[in-house]
Structure formats: structure tokens, C-alpha cells
Amino acid sequence: MIGLALLAVYVGIFVVSYLVVRYFVHQSISGFTARKTVTFGDESAVTPNRIASVVSVVTIFLIWGSFTGSAWVPGFLHAPAPFVGETSFTYTLEAPDGQRDDATVFVHVLPFGEKPEKFTVPPGDGFAKDDAVAMTASRSVTILFDRNDEVKRKDGAHVVAIDGNPISPDTVVKTGIGRFALTDKGAISFQPPTGLQMEPIWLPPPESVVQRAVEIARDGYRDTTLWGHLGYSLFRVVVGFALGALVGIPLGYAMGLSNWFRGWFDPIVEFMRPVPPLALIPLVIIWFGIGETGKIILLFLASLWIMAIAARSGVSGVNISKVHAAYSLGASKAQIMRHVIMPNSLPEIFTGARVAMGVCWGTVVAAELVAATEGAGMMIMVASKFQLTDIVLMGIILIGVIGFGIDILMRKAEKILVPWKGRS
């Protein structure tokens, strides 16, 4: 239900904002694409529409805020909230002798996170007495209405109507007050309107995630500061990747230059490449325990094959005329290695490094989820055990942002170090 509502809202915003931008925002396309008549399927003509990107991000936060009742989103944009406050309904009890009597149930529905407190009401008259129930929004309660009644269920009394609507064990009554049903034993099950908002335990509003982030940044989490956790993860990635590159690149070069190396390592590399590093986690834990060694070895293995394959294809991909030209310019084998083969393989190695960094970052988080005493993944894992969804979300967002940041840095480095990539 909530899922469908979400999807509908999302698609709606997508379409409406597209139409609005299309008809009301005048976009002047400049540059050579402006005069193109055929642009369909032309890559240079398709660039990300910045307005769309902004609206897309805003939409996600808006929907998030709206379906969590965020204080940052104006009230009229909130999805219907679950009922909170005081309500009441009457039930009609029929005694075994056929006599009927009405009694009222007073219900206090408290917002999420507040503890329901018991209260009492005067019993009223008749053999069915009034009841008092305190509960949390969106939940359903089973009301043992007959605890104070003069005729009990076990004596054969049963509820026949709610607010005048007939009810039986196989009918459900829905009124403006909520949803009523009878349990197998004849007790009343009541659920006030749930609305469309999420409970914070499923999805906390953005402000509580931010608040939690500020808190953890200030006080730390589990004896380590936030920066400590992220630093541990990054440190593992950097060391693991560096080791992988340090071994993988020379290995790839050797495989690209020597038949023997190629033959020897091909089966190993081709076998290890499709094995996801995550599948190695159990083995690594068994062999090396949950300390740093195991994690760094895991990341080393994650990046090793990628870097070896990248270096290998960088070497084999050299245009043979470049090597021939260098030979006939009098270069020695070592000089060709140093001045032709190695620089020529850099673009491939950079592509590999970007992939490897991404894989390492994902792997470290997964490894920390399984076993760690600090790290971004560990934060999420521990928080989820205590159902601290706001920390889980904060962790996920930080992991995403850092992963994105790593890729941007790698791209920047690539632009500076191998400016000729893709241009020869």
C-alpha cells in the first residue's frame, strides 16, 4: 500500500517536473549540438539535465520527509499521519441469557516513541463495564474488555456489535475510528487508522539522521569517533588496494611480456577473477581472524586480480608500431619497457584502479558487517542489532558519499596523470 503510494508520487513528480521544465523553463542549448538535426542516439547530444538532477535529489528528500512526517517538510506535504490522540468506541455484549448491554472503551493513542501509560475510567452502569486502553500509533491492540465485566467470555458472553455495527468472528468492522476484529477467543482486536507514514524504526525522518550524525561526530560511537570509524575503513581500503596494485601491476606486466608467466598465472587469475571477494570473507576470518590482517588480505585479493588483468591488457594493448618505432630509434629493451610499455599501459591501469577502488570500498564495508570492532560497516551492523535505524541510514549515506568521493578523486588523478587517455 505505502509502496504503491510512494511509486505513484515519485512517477508523478518525475512527469510533472519534466512537463514544467519543458514548457516553462526556456533552455537555450549552446555549442555545436544546438544546430544538430539528428541527435537521437548521438552520445554527444545527451548530457545530464542539471535541473533534472536537482529536482531528483530534492524529490528523494521530499518523499523521505513526507512519509516520515519530517519537521523539515511543511505539514501540508506530509503523507497522512497515523491517528494520534484520544478516541473511544462502544461494544455490545450479549450474555448467554440473550441480554445485551453496551460499554465504552476509551483509547489513548500515543505517537511513536512515547510509552503508553495506563489510565482508568469510571466503570459506568450495566453488566458490561467501560474500559481504558493506552497504545502506540499504527499498532493494533487486543482488548480484553471483559476483565471488569460482570459476565465473562468464559461464561459464554460475546461481543455482537461495535458502535452499533454487527460483528462476528468472521467479519471485520471498519469505521472512522479504526479497524475492529474478534480474536479466536472473542477478544476485540483494534487498530486505529495507520495513515501512510513510516515508523521511525523502519525509516527515521531526515532530521533525526542528521541529529544522530552530529551526535556521533561529537561523541563517537562504540568507543571510536565517527572519523575514527570512517578512517579505519579508508585505511584498510588504501592499504589493501596499494598492496594489490604493488603486486598486481608487476604480475600483469610479467603476464603481458612472458609466455611462461602468462601460462602459469592465467588459470589462477581467470579462476579468481569471477570469485566475488565477499565469498572469501568466511575463509579469511577462519584463517586470519577478525583483525586487520584478515581484512587487508581480503582487500588485497579483491584488487590483485583486477590490477593484474588491467596491467596485462595495458601491456598487450600497445600498438606494435610504437614498439617498432622505439626499436628503430635505437632504444634498448629496458628503455622500451620504461618509456613505451609502461606509460602506454597507464590508461588501462587507471581504469583498473578505479574499478578496484570501488570493489575494495564495497568489500571493506561488507567485511566489517561480518566482523569488526570499528569501521563504517561495523557501525551499521551494531546499530541494526539495536534497531537504531537512524545510525544505519547515516552509515549508508556516508558510505555512499565516500565511495563517490573516491571515484571523483580517481577521475581527477586520471585527468592529470594520463591526459591522453582515450585520445589516441
Partner: protein
């Protein structure tokens, strides 16, 4: 004995499927120092193979190549090579590309700087010497390739369709440059080309090769290269005998192509 001798060179490629291609059969040629020879022939007649053998990248199955009295056993700085495309080093700027040979010999900038700058000047690259290779047009890239080869001061320059990828106008300019450099430096040059006009204009000697097996079909001695030095190459095309030579060679190549096509049809 000075100069370059190609002596009874044959080359057979054994293919993985068991058959073999006779790329060259008994090719013999002698080039004196300072000669400019153009080589023409239909595609697949073994021109590149011949050049690779002279450069020392391939060992012939029969025969040998002798350079200044010494048998060729591998690539060496005395035989420079200019490729059609893609042989420049993108990770170096223009000047670093041109000075590659001297630098690999361990020379310091004091030793090669003047020569390299002069070559950049001559090839019209002085203003581009700090540019990256990928920022240059195709014509300029080929000028870098020429300058790089000359900076290494080889005795023989081997060119495999060096102007093949250029547009007609740039190509004409570059032909003039080749002639100029040839005259100024006195290098021995073998130039492979697809273009009959280019072969006639640039070849003091012109060798026409025939395919299957690759062999020398006919050889000409032509005056146009000498005439073309410093002159307008378009004028030369009106010189006496030019048109007749061109027609004759075109016809020859045309017939070879016909024969190839005919054989291909027969096979089908």
C-alpha cells in the same frame, strides 16, 4: 660496400591452419646512398613485409639484407622508420617525441637541443613543440614522426604509407616536405605508397610490385623527384612524360587488381 642491399629475399608466413602465404619471393634490390625509391603495388603484395624485413622486425625465410656491408639481424638506429599512424608517444610532448632517439642514446639536452629545435623549425613545428600529440592534426603528427626519425640521424629512412591517412591538400604539402628533407639531408629513403601520383612524384626510382607471390614487377627511373625539389608539385604533373608514365602504371596495377578479383571469383 655502402648502401642498402636486399639480396634474394623471400618470406613465407605459415598460417595456424596449416596453409602458408608466400608474401615475398626472391626480391633483390640495391639502393645507393642518397637514393629515394618509392614502392607501389596492390594491397597485399608484400610491401609492408619487405619494409619490416629491411627494418629488422622480421627475419626473411630466405635471402638477406645487407646494410653498409653488414648483414641486418634486427632493428637498429641506422634504419629509421616512419609509420602511417599511431606510432608517436602520446605521453610525451612534441619536443620529447622528436628527441626520443638521442635521449635513449644517453645524450644530454646540450647535445641534442640545437638539432632538435632546428628540425622542429624545418618541419614547421616550432610553435607546437610543447603541445601534446593528441592536440595536433594528422598532418602535424606525421611531421613529428618525420622529425623524430631525422633527429636520430639514420642512414636509411623507411616509410610505410606515411601520408596515407592525410587529406589531399595536406598530403601535397607533406610530399613537398619529404622532397625538401631528402635533398637537405641526403638520406636514403624507401617510401611505400598506395598512390600512383605520389610514387611518381617522390620516387627517383619507382618499383612496382606484383602479388602472389610478392615480387618486383617493374622498375622505373624517373626525373620528377629531382625536378620537384623546391618546385610546385602541381606544375610537375604537367611535365613531359608524366601523364604517360602515370597511365602506364595505373593500367599495370589495374590489371593486377583484375587478376586478383578474377582469381577470387574462380575460387568461389
Amino acid at each position: 660496400m655502402s648502401g642498402l642491399s636486399i639480396e634474394h629475399v623471400s618470406m613465407r608466413f605459415d598460417l595456424p591452419n596449416g596453409s602458408s602465404v608466400q608474401a615475398l619471393e626472391d626480391v633483390s634490390l640495391h639502393l645507393k646512398e642518397g637514393e629515394l625509391m618509392s614502392v607501389l603495388g596492390p594491397s597485399g603484395c608484400g610491401k609492408t613485409t619487405l619494409l619490416n624485413i629491411v627494418a629488422g622486425f622480421l627475419a626473411p625465410t630466405d635471402g638477406r639484407v645487407v646494410m653498409n656491408g653488414e648483414e641486418v639481424t634486427g632493428p637498429k638506429a641506422d634504419r629509421g622508420m616512419v609509420f602511417q599512424q599511431g606510432a608517436l608517444f602520446e605521453w610525451m610532448d612534441v619536443r620529447a617525441n622528436v628527441s626520443f632517439g638521442p635521449r635513449m642514446k644517453g645524450q644530454r639536452e646540450a647535445e641534442w637541443g640545437e638539432k632538435v629545435d632546428h628540425l622542429l623549425e624545418v618541419t614547421g613545428l616550432a610553435d607546437f613543440k610543447d603541445k601534446a600529440i593528441y592536440e595536433l592534426s594528422g598532418g602535424m603528427q606525421q611531421r613529428v614522426a618525420l622529425a623524430r626519425c631525422l633527429a636520430n640521424d639514420p642512414d636509411v629512412i623507411l616509410m610505410d604509407e606515411p601520408l596515407g591517412a592525410l587529406d589531399a591538400l595536406t598530403r601535397e604539402k607533406m610530399q613537398g616536405l619529404v622532397l625538401k628533407l631528402w635533398k637537405e639531408t641526403g638520406k636514403t629513403i624507401i617510401l611505400i605508397t598506395h598512390s600512383v601520383e605520389e610514387a611518381i612524384l617522390l620516387g627517383e626510382r619507382l618499383v612496382v610490385m606484383a602479388p602472389r607471390p610478392g615480387r618486383i614487377h617493374k622498375e622505373y627511373r624517373l626525373p620528377y623527384a629531382e625536378m620537384g625539389v623546391g618546385a610546385d608539385l602541381r606544375e610537375i604533373k604537367h611535365a613531359k612524360g608524366y601523364a604517360e608514365t602515370r597511365e602506364e602504371i595505373l593500367e599495370m596495377i589495374w590489371n593486377m587488381e583484375e587478376e586478383i578479383m578474377g582469381r577470387a571469383e574462380e575460387l568461389q
